[in-house]
Symmetry: C2
Subunit: 103 residues, 2 copies
Amino acid sequence: MIANTPTPPYYAVIFTSTRTKGDNGYEKMAARMLSLATEQKGFLGIESAREDLGISVSYWSDLEAIKLWKANSEHLQAQKMGRKSWYADFKLRISKVERDYRI
Amino acid sequence: MIANTPTPPYYAVIFTSTRTKGDNGYEKMAARMLSLATEQKGFLGIESAREDLGISVSYWSDLEAIKLWKANSEHLQAQKMGRKSWYADFKLRISKVERDYRI
């Protein structure tokens, strides 16, 4: 459940969102995007939780991998639907993990 | 709900955890730590969600602010209780936000 990421540095994409009401195809697409993301070059792991606010943090080897994932054609379609139907609000932050600690 | 952070760069502390069973004083301390964190110099905001996995992302102006918060005496006591009682597992990642996007 906690992503088994390598020794830093690597990148974290922090995606925070609030949903609109209703599914509108969201769950199916979310499952597909998760599956597709894990196949991408440079993908290191993902962690997600949702209450009123949803947080998904995906981990990537470098900025180029994030750029390629952003430009993936199926993902572009999902992003379009996200803006149009699924998210009331969202924010996406690209960050470089410099240090990490575990229990 | 979505933290209203300033223009990057700033820092994100990504805290991912799984809980042990039972409260054991957790909810009260979590509320106190949230209140205390917001009073710290350099604190910019926080976003949290928990399902099986809990994710809290707190935002800070710089590494010095994170270091001071980590060393806060009341927070040190909470960290000790976290390791001992509240968390089955956790990982903490310190990252520098380089870019962000909103709807």
